[in-house]
Symmetry: D3
Subunit: 64 residues, 6 copies
């Protein structure tokens, strides 16, 4: 701990994930002053069929 869970759309580029994990860990380290090894981040990739924003499925927003 600290643990972070990110819920977002799919990220296709591994390098983007790598960078995201690195930068969020940097930010956590500054805030919590706990050694770097303790931070765990989980990225969840969600299909647009499974996300609703403002009462509408993301898949319907995209297809409009």
């Amino acid at each position: 701990m600290p643990n972070v869970v990110i819920d977002g759309p799919k990220i296709n580029d591994l390098e983007v994930k790598r960078q995201l994990i690195k930068e969020i860990t940097d930010a956590l380290e500054k805030a919590y002053k706990i050694p770097r090894n303790a931070y765990i981040i989980v990225i969840r990739e969600n299909s647009p069929e499974n996300v609703g924003v403002g009462g509408t499925l993301l898949t319907d927003r995209i297809n409009q």
Copy 2:
């Protein structure tokens, strides 16, 4: 925000997801009085192999 995460079994019909998102957003809007666009809902679909109820895997309950 407000954000909602739903953990349930798979929903095969897109129209069911559409309706679920709409109705939960309606309920949230009444409760929080925050503009509709702010509500985010994530549906997680779980395999019966990955859910335990009462100490038994759902997949074992179904197959009994």
Copy 3:
């Protein structure tokens, strides 16, 4: 299961929570066709100091 977690600001009126739980359970029941007793909903109430929207703490947005 299905389980729902709602992350929002504080709700001061118990009747509002009561109604929210009822209406979300109604929506879940229609979608999943699982008996009503199975649905569990957790409401999390978050302080504006602990929520960031668009890179800004909610407490700073409110005080602007």
Copy 4:
């Protein structure tokens, strides 16, 4: 409720999941003294591309 969510790597053996659910439910039952049927456990299986530990993707740690 009580509900438990486990975030870990993939578990390939169904028997291991079965045992894990059973043992965690045993532990919950001792702690909460709530009837066994109430406990719901969800296992989330995460790809090493989607987990960061200490600022590094798990997939990069494994491949080192």
Copy 5:
């Protein structure tokens, strides 16, 4: 990782929490075969006003 989040009612006895953490970690260790230090468990204690089961607030069920 693996990480576990438990959502339940309040636990008043520290010894019960201590035992719960120990036993769940034992179960995780057997399942994942990852060194013991890696397991992180968070206990969330929820007020009966903030939990709905079967469409009814827990606080209303208890007071019936």
Copy 6:
């Protein structure tokens, strides 16, 4: 969406939270290329009585 939940110990300094939210949002923006307003971050502050690491409550580790 994307949404982020951070589980950590208490942060006493509001400025630290402010900075943490800002920097994580910066990292998310680079990764997802979604407009800044969409990112929601929730910070959960956990008591050392409610966190277990390696099978031991944090409160017991601190007091050793």
